[in-house]
């Protein structure tokens, strides 16, 4: 009012004077207001001081506790590679996608605004391999925690992340991938859905395959973004170590394919092929059919998960004959140039024992014994040995002991008790041609390596480069450890070579390569009484002039007639040997200079 009046000047003066006087504001009131403000501010300062200085530590600890999350390692496992570094098993990061339909939001949405499932489904449709309709159905099924899909690759996951939709959760996990499909499943095994190892090396080497990852605890933003503070040293260290196998993927593939083909032709139950380096026991091939795809293990019967060449026993049959001959030579029961008579039948303790074709072969030298695979001759030879010594020799070979190997589940073989074996000649007699006791195919490989490497018992293994109890022939064997003398093995090897040159092993003959071999067709019984099926096998040692590899092929229960080692197992062995020569660059014999230079 006063202001108005002062603007209009004198004419209104009269009126203005009638207005009641404006009482001035006492300054102390203004100061009072100021004091009130100051009081409040000082009180606040006290409160803040209490929070920051007195309770500061407790609150900060609480905040850190709230902001810090412990991230347990995903449980990354080491990759498994073959001898040339090809991947056999590896971990890949995959994502599971969960949805919380009641909390859907887009970037920039105001708080309290939620999106309908249809809108989210429309955005996801192009990214996920799911139709819009299915997505919407899933969204309406539950309010929260709907598992939409799993096995998303990182690229799809990042696409989903870029959509920036609230209410979608990507959970990373690791998936074990076996890029070689079924080639190595018999050896490597597999991990089940929960990443628990179920078979093979995955199971037996579980501890070594697991990476020693530390659990990480660090601060996160509330949206899960990790912060670069408070991180312990070494938390992010990932070791790139692989588990190296001695196996060769190319050879393995050849072996598996050849076996599979042969199994088809002969309608056999199963087959195995093993290639071993005789000097150090490294296995180059450990193939087995039928087998399973570890990427889809659930589609196969669980009986396939066992590797039978390591875990099952069989009676080796004729393939054991070279070893018996070597024992006989070692014992002095036979001479290198001696002969033995094969009458076609021999009676031992009331049991008539015959050759496979029930025909006599007459007077034979020992190379011929192997060539025609004469049972009768073998019985005659073994009968010249002291039974007790013979048993001791067999026992020394470790037939009834479990193999020392890094392959999972190796089982010991069966050999009759010494008393029984010595007392009843029939046991010695059948043992002479590889029946009456049982070993695993892998053991047979080891025994033939004896002949190849001059009497040393190497330990077959499939892991390279990691220290273990495995010993190799070259390093640790002393003279005393030799089970056979070099002279003996050389003689037997020559005899075996003749099997390939003129005998039942002709099928693997390769020009310019010296290969020793022995076929075997052993009767086997499933119930212990009826010998109604057979195992056809073949053993090869190459190259004879400087043995490096033993190849063993065994096929179980071929159903067609004329199934023998020479018809069923030899073709497989030939294919493997051909590849082996290429892969391992074995020089042919007529090129001695090259051979020498390759050796040096």
């Amino acid at each position: 009012m006063v202001i108005k009046n002062s603007r209009h000047s004198s004419p209104l003066k009269k009126k203005r004077l009638k207005v009641a006087p404006l009482s001035p504001i006492p300054p102390f009131r203004l100061k009072l207001t100021f004091s009130l403000l100051c009081l409040a501010l000082l009180a606040l300062m006290g409160r803040v001081a209490q929070l920051q200085l007195v309770q500061g530590f407790a609150l900060e600890a609480r905040a850190r506790d709230y902001q810090t999350r412990k991230v347990e390692p995903l449980g990354r496992r080491r990759s498994i590679v073959d001898r040339r570094g090809r991947l056999i098993a590896l971990d890949e990061k995959r994502y599971r996608l969960y949805a919380h339909p009641s909390k859907f939001k887009f970037v920039g949405d105001l708080q309290g605004v939620f999106r309908r499932p249809e809108e989210v489904a429309a955005k996801l449709e192009g990214v996920l391999p799911l139709t819009k309709k299915k997505l919407i159905e899933a969204f309406y099924a539950e309010e929260t925690g709907v598992k939409l899909i799993e096995g998303l690759t990182p690229s799809i996951a990042s696409k989903i992340e870029n959509l920036r939709i609230d209410g979608l959760d990507l959970e990373p996990y690791l998936q074990r991938i076996y890029p070689q499909d079924d080639l190595f499943s018999n050896v490597v095994g597999f991990l089940d859905y929960d990443r628990v190892p179920q078979a093979g090396l995955e199971l037996s080497l579980d501890n070594e395959l697991l990476q020693k990852e530390k659990s990480r605890s660090y601060r996160f933003g509330r949206d899960g973004t990790p912060l670069p503070t408070d991180i312990e040293a070494g938390v992010f260290a990932i070791d790139k170590e692989h588990v190296h196998l001695t196996l060769d993927a190319r050879l393995q593939e050849v072996a598996v394919n050849a076996l599979r083909e042969q199994l088809d032709i002969w309608k056999a139950r199963k087959g195995a092929a093993i290639v071993m380096d005789v000097d150090n026991g490294e296995l180059l091939v450990l193939a087995s059919t039928p087998t399973y795809d570890p990427n889809k293990y659930w589609e196969y019967k669980s009986t396939l998960y066992k590797e039978w060449s390591v875990q099952e026993l069989f009676e080796p049959g004729s393939t054991f004959k070279p070893i018996n001959l070597a024992l006989a030579l070692e014992e002095g029961a036979i001479e290198q140039n001696g002969t033995v008579y094969d009458s076609g039948i021999v009676n031992v303790g009331g049991w008539p024992l015959t050759n496979w074709n029930k025909k006599p072969n007459g007077l034979l030298d020992f190379a011929k014994v192997l060539q025609v695979s004469s049972n009768v001759a073998m019985v005659n030879i073994i009968q010249k040995l002291n039974p007790s010594n013979y048993w001791e020799r067999l026992n020394q070979l470790g037939i009834s002991r479990a193999l020392i190997t890094d392959l999972p589940g190796a089982v010991p073989g069966h050999l009759k008790q010494k008393e029984l074996f010595v007392k009843q000649p029939i046991h010695q007699a059948v043992a002479s041609y590889g029946q009456g006791f049982s070993i695993t195919p892998l053991k047979l490989v080891q025994l033939h390596a004896l002949i190849a490497n001059g009497g040393r018992l190497v330990e077959p293994h499939i892991r390279k480069g990691l220290p273990s109890t495995i010993t190799t022939a070259k390093e640790t064997f002393k003279k005393d450890d030799l089970l056979l003398s070099q002279d003996v093995t050389k003689i037997v090897l020559k005899w075996m070579e003749s099997v390939v040159e003129n005998g039942s092993g002709k099928g693997v003959k390769i020009d310019n390569y010296r290969i020793g071999g022995k076929t075997g067709t052993a009767d086997q019984t499933n119930d212990g009484i009826n010998y109604d099926s057979k195992i056809c096998s073949f053993v090869a040692i190459l190259p004879v002039e400087h043995p490096r590899f033993v190849v063993v092929v065994a096929v179980d229960s071929p159903k067609r007639s004329y199934a023998y080692g020479s018809t069923v197992a030899v073709p497989v062995a030939k294919k493997i040997i051909e590849s082996l020569i290429v892969v391992e660059k074995i020089p042919p014999i007529n090129n001695q200079t090259d051979f020498l230079s390759a050796q040096s």
Binding site: M1, V2, I3, N5, S6, R7, V19, A20, P21, L22, S23, P24, I25, P26, P27, R29, L30, K31, L32, T33, F34, L36, L37, C38, A40, L41, L42, A43, L44, M45, R47, V48, A49, L51, Q52, L53, Q55, G56, F57, A58, L59, E60, R62, A63, R64, Y66, Q67, V107, G108, L110, Q111, G112, R164, R219, F220, G221, R222, D223, T225, L227
Partner: protein
């Protein structure tokens, strides 16, 4: 109390009569200073540079309080932008996809706000007082409109949306409320009871409408502000106590009626009872402030701002500040507030009439009072309600009204010099 630059003797006598301020003593240099100022104005008006024409009073003649206040406002707004930058960057990247989203908008609003502040400085207080009633009524209507057309955000309809602009009438009403309260209480003892009742009922309606939104914090702030202006104006303590009691009653009534407010109040008393529900916001804020310790985590290094704190651009920005700058920073901030309040007091004491005295104390009370409530909420000394920190929190409406209030305070200071705002000067300029 001496006013060195009080204008000529005629006006002096008018003012003396009008204001009835016996404490004001004139000194002899009056006529000399008048001469200087008159000459200065007359001589320079023709050839002064543009910026000088844009300010109502030549810089040399600004009172010390005005200069300091302007400097503090500039500092406050720039520091506020920096604090907001740190607080909002992460959230903006996560939620808006662009780290500078909030700062850019805030800068645009700052530009507008400085224009408004300039306008506040340039316009005569008398004119402001004359238009304040109309503006207040318009704002009242707008607040009413929010109840009908308002868009509901976070359970309250506080906003009116016009295209890209979101208006929050309860923010914009603040400066006009100060002016209107000054209008009323400056002549409190002179006007009839009927008119008092009418004016007070306008305030009452406003508070009720804001309560209805519901926006407890702004309603409380406005109530407290009116009460403080009344206190400053010299209203009898009996009436003040009665008003305070009825205000408290209203508050209790509102709280018991709205469940969410009741929950907020109870959760404020013991936030740890329900750490993931009602206590969540306050707990996060306490954790943030507590993590600050003596010297804080350092600028930009708050962890609680990484989406742990809710509304950290607006209602909880102090928590981020306190975490980053620690007690040292909080101490400085509070000292800064005391300084601003003191400047407001000085300007108020120096002002020559009841109106500008009340406007000055009202403006500083509004700015500091709102800051106090913001700090009180974030530090758990008050129920959790959303109030922005003036000049710092994100929000165009809050900035506009804060700058208008700051501008009015500056204008009060300029007019306290006696060189502008008076009748005579105006005539001379014309």
């Amino acid at each position: 109390m001496a006013n060195r630059f009080l204008s000529g003797s005629i006006e002096k006598s008018i003012l003396r009569k009008a204001l009835r301020t016996p404490t004001i003593k004139r000194i002899d240099g009056d006529s000399l200073s008048t001469e200087i100022s008159n000459k200065y104005v007359l001589r320079n008006i023709g050839r002064s540079p543009l910026w000088r024409m844009l300010i109502p009073l030549p810089w040399q003649l600004w009172p010390a309080e005005a200069r300091l206040l302007l400097a503090l406002m500039v500092f406050w707004s720039i520091a506020g932008l920096c604090i907001l930058g740190s607080a909002s960057w992460w959230v903006a990247t996560r939620e808006m996809g662009e780290g500078s989203y909030f700062i850019k908008r805030q800068m645009m609003w700052l530009f507008t706000s400085w224009t408004i502040a300039w306008l506040a400085i340039s316009i005569n207080l008398r004119r402001w007082l004359r238009i304040s009633k109309v503006c207040l009524l318009i704002c009242l209507l707008l607040v009413g409109a929010t109840l009908v057309f308002g868009s509901n955000i976070n359970g309250a309809s506080r906003w009116l949306i016009f295209g890209p602009i979101r208006l929050q009438p309860s923010e914009l009403v603040k400066p006009f409320l100060i002016l209107q309260a000054a209008n009323l209480f400056a002549q409190w003892k002179r006007i009839k009871n009927g008119q008092k009742l009418l004016e007070l009922s306008i305030f009452g309606t406003l508070i009720l409408l804001i309560l209805k939104q519901p926006n407890l914090s702004t309603a409380a702030l406005i109530g407290i502000l009116i009460w403080m202006i009344a206190l400053s104006a010299g209203v009898s303590f009996i009436n003040l106590s009665l008003a305070a009691l009825s205000g408290l009653g209203l508050g209790v009534f509102s709280i018991t009626r709205h469940e969410y407010q009741l929950l907020r109040v109870t959760s404020f008393l013991n936030p740890w009872e329900d750490p993931h529900g009602n206590g969540y916001q306050l707990i996060q804020s306490l954790l943030a402030i507590g993590s600050g310790g003596w010297f804080g985590e350092g600028y930009g290094l708050s962890t609680q701002k990484l989406l742990y704190l809710p509304f950290l651009n607006t209602d909880f920005i102090f928590s981020v500040y306190a975490e980053e700058f620690g007690f040292a920073g909080s101490f400085m901030l509070i000292i800064f507030f005391i300084l601003i309040a003191f400047l407001g007091l000085r300007i108020s004491l120096r002002s020559q009439n009841n109106y500008s005295k009340l406007i000055a104390i009202g403006c500083s009370t509004m700015l500091i009072g709102q800051s106090i409530m913001h700090l009180a909420v974030t530090s758990g000394s008050m129920p959790t309600t959303g109030l922005p920190l003036p000049f710092i929190s994100y929000g165009g409406n809050s900035l506009l009204s804060s700058f208008l209030i700051g501008g009015l305070l500056l204008r009060c200071s300029l007019e306290s010099s006696g060189l502008i705002g008076g009748l005579k000067i105006k005539k001379k300029l014309n």
